[in-house]
Symmetry: C2
Subunit: 651 residues, 2 copies
Amino acid sequence: MFEVRERDGLARIGVMDTARGRVTTPALLPVVNPNRPIIPPADLGRRFHAEILITNAYILGKGPTRESVLRQGVHDFLGFPGPIMTDSGAFQSHVYGDVDVTNAEVIEFQKRIGSDFGTMLDLFSEPSHDLARASDDVDETIRRAKEAASLRGEMELIGAVQGGLHAEVRERCAREVSGLDVSVCAIGGVVPLLERYRFRDLVRVIVASKTGLDPSKPVHLFGAGHPLVFPLAALLGCDLFDSASYAKYARDGRMLFPDGTRHASDLRESGCVCPVCEAHPMGAIAASEVLLAEHNLHVCFGAIREVRRAIAHGDLWELVERRARAHPSLLVALRELRRHDEFLETFEPTSRRGAMYYVGPETAHRPILHRFRRRLAERYVPPAAKGVIVLPEGERPFGERYGALIERILETADVHPVVKSIWGPVPIELDHVWPMAQSIVPETLDVEALEAAEVFFREWAAGTGYPFGLLWEGDATLDELRLRAPGGRHVDWNASRIRATADFQFGRGASDALLDGSVSYVISKNMGKIRNVVVDGEHVLSLRAEDGLFTLKSEGARRLHRAFAFPRLRIVVDAESVPFHRDGKNVFAKFVRDADPDMRPGDEALVVSPDDELCAVAQSSMNRSEMRAFKRGVAARVREGVPRSPSVPPR
Amino acid sequence: MFEVRERDGLARIGVMDTARGRVTTPALLPVVNPNRPIIPPADLGRRFHAEILITNAYILGKGPTRESVLRQGVHDFLGFPGPIMTDSGAFQSHVYGDVDVTNAEVIEFQKRIGSDFGTMLDLFSEPSHDLARASDDVDETIRRAKEAASLRGEMELIGAVQGGLHAEVRERCAREVSGLDVSVCAIGGVVPLLERYRFRDLVRVIVASKTGLDPSKPVHLFGAGHPLVFPLAALLGCDLFDSASYAKYARDGRMLFPDGTRHASDLRESGCVCPVCEAHPMGAIAASEVLLAEHNLHVCFGAIREVRRAIAHGDLWELVERRARAHPSLLVALRELRRHDEFLETFEPTSRRGAMYYVGPETAHRPILHRFRRRLAERYVPPAAKGVIVLPEGERPFGERYGALIERILETADVHPVVKSIWGPVPIELDHVWPMAQSIVPETLDVEALEAAEVFFREWAAGTGYPFGLLWEGDATLDELRLRAPGGRHVDWNASRIRATADFQFGRGASDALLDGSVSYVISKNMGKIRNVVVDGEHVLSLRAEDGLFTLKSEGARRLHRAFAFPRLRIVVDAESVPFHRDGKNVFAKFVRDADPDMRPGDEALVVSPDDELCAVAQSSMNRSEMRAFKRGVAARVREGVPRSPSVPPR
């Protein structure tokens, strides 16, 4: 039902195909209060382009509306032809302490009114609940999820994730519930956090839930309707949001904005460009609950579209970091993210188009930079030298700026040049690798960013074995340097760049395998940069100008396949699909058996049979957990099929 | 012609009354290209609410349009009934190297076509020009400004400020030109800075210009049409912006956004809520230069309205700090502002409604906090004690959080409690003063903010004479503390708060003058806070709950008048207006002769005659330079008239 089209961070632009139409995610589901629908549901579709609505089955089933909705069905009752999600009453149990309906009754009622997405009746975990209480309640929620799954019939089911602030309980609930026959997983119990601006706790709750969730299922963040949180929640992998805020705030005379909330009566101008604010004077808006609700809807839908725009462009992290400045509590939440880098990194695409912008000292802690520093420590082999020469960060790419100076230094002293960038150390051979060459950084920096650069550098340098005494930071003369690190050598920059990039991208030792033989290059005429790497007459690698990384050719794939043991760099597909990949057909997730745990979206991949026979070279679009979970969508785009090797006897 | 209604930073919401209608500032003047008016000028008024346009007299006078515009006049020619500003050709001289027209000719042509605001032909200072060149060119610009002023007739004249990157030349040009008979001062020569994102240089240029400019004249930032720079430029005192960008970018397929520029063809959704983006699919927008221009106009006008909203709400600094995250070069510009704190501080209002939000480590360097720290050092008298006890920052207001603990400590040891806040040290008696009690700060902070707090504290502590050895940061027990600072005492918190606040607000010694006698308080029933201070039976001061500062009563004013010598705390008005102020009438700027150089907008003020006879107590709405410059508007709102004192013989 759910298929991912584009991704950034844990966010994804996806489509949910329903019998009543397609929903593009991230999506906003306006809440329709059946007793007080301030904007007619038909208008939500026609004028606000809502693709799906949400209303409350518990309220529908209790009130005077019960008989009409049972007779008409929820779509006719609301006058909305598209898909409708219904909530169950769990939130009402949070507000009123209890509800007088059972899980089975609520499921049955939702089926009878024709809900497209019906919600189980979970137990609401309050943030104040202790571990034992949260765990017991989650046991019951899981039991009810199983019951609901057995009762759902044709209705798509929404399984709820509860567990309060207890990460291990959240994760367990997420794992159990998303393993059931549910179509959507909903993270519940977050409204008390949102109401009190506890965005750091929100981050912890979402990350714990996502850690347990089946990544192939769309995730609904129940009750999150303020545009302030959309970018952050989407970045962490929430796909659906429901907004009652547009109406509730309007009743209260308040206007939503991407950076917060303001009382309409405090404003002479809203500073907003939405059709309501463009067409009406502020006094008229402030006096009209409908106009306020319409403004709020415009802003909420706009914020969702802005998130989708950022995902498509690959700069959602920038949007989140910028938006975090709207409230100190969001900034605290942003600073929490680095604690979850190990998890977040596994979903981060290898590179993207365009530059990476410095937004604040938090930028250096993005998962992509965490990965860069880790791969550098694990995979990059520093050349034998008596020390490093540390180059201050300058205009990028580094090599071009420092070229002549570096040549002279290297002929003088036996040192290796490394740039102390604010993202971490960058050996000069890797200065074209994304995002190092594609960063836009202020000329003057805050203390935290400078200190982080220092820490990153020292941590790396400590692992290289270079004696610290030979660090040089641009203040020694060439003569002094020669005394400290006698020697000097000529460096073949092209060869160094290729070796370092290959090890960095594919793993330590990859360069030995890929470049074993007589190496030559094809240099681009325009830029004078390496384009292709040819070994013993065979095209092995192409270097991409946009991100400084290699595209693997089939001969390169063969070499890596020989050099690296299973499952390194592999995607293992079903035996039946092997011939298709040899023919150049893409790898669909449903035919993937397994993959390298270190595989990341965007990485080059060896597509192999269950017997580890190489059948194609591809670029992955998922990580391992996603490949194993998804039943729809492309797991990897095949670049070239690899014919059956004549040297391998058929089995 | 120009009158200020509200203010924040150097920004102001003002009105310019013209024969053809009122213009509210900050205002955006869409540029109409007479040869290619992509949006009809009448639509700019009707649909986009443009109150004023700008077009180019040089182009009008050169082209085939010359005869028509001379015959019809510029308003009929463009079909726009409101005020029209015309530019002179100076920018064309930047683009083409020279123009074949004289200053006198351009002025004459603008008069003949009926321009409401005509521009002199200044010499464009390029950023690359050296001091000598810039200075010589500015001599000629000043000469031409004088010539233009003599020729302007009934046309309102725009005087240009040039001088490239040379602050002293900019300031001289600004002073000379704004001293002439010109209605608007335009800061020119900034387009090359904007094109290259040299926003730090833009800050330097605007600040240098504003330092020289007559503050009563509206300031046009010539060629600044991207919404990215509106908040920053407005904060620094620019009132008018002209945008050709909306049309130029549209021609290029690019869309403006408050956070930057994007190519329409790169987008599937814009993420914008403007009427164009709400009504048309992205493909249609990308294909239509007119729709792109309309989108760009919506966004530009929206950004100007957002600036006005922030000025009215007093949170323009927050908007600027947030928007600075949109591009690293804007962040560098933001970090430049602290270098100009001495100048910026003189325009900063005393307090505002609502909280101050931490946005980033730059927030601590806002002029209002610079002032707080300076007034603390200069005016606050630390009580005699053997040391300070340093309290970590917690929830505000401090006193309420630490109340019981502090009482015990003070009874034990002879120390004085001071909070080490990230805005600077806050002696506990001042913890209600704006913005200390009204700040919203993240729970976790970046290194730069923490280091700044440390530096601010140490600088202040060094001036107090408290021995450093007695600093205590919450890790000593009461017993240890008693050993280090033997003593202990009872503190009357109400008395301490009043004394400290009075000195802080009015100057060292003010508390002695104000509280000389038998002091009693009126305490608010709801909050238990001091409301009124009564001395010897007379109501002297009222403490405002919203900003923790005093409103001065007439008896308080008499006491301060006696205690502080001329011109301290004074606004000196013309003799003829004295009786009106005694009657409670406001002080208009045109009747102000002089004022205390330390007077700030929002400060309490003694209104005095030229003979220094007290005639009213007021709240200023301008600083001294503004009171002396403005011929329109209220310089101070009189709270109470003060009758002629019987003890002072009439002169």
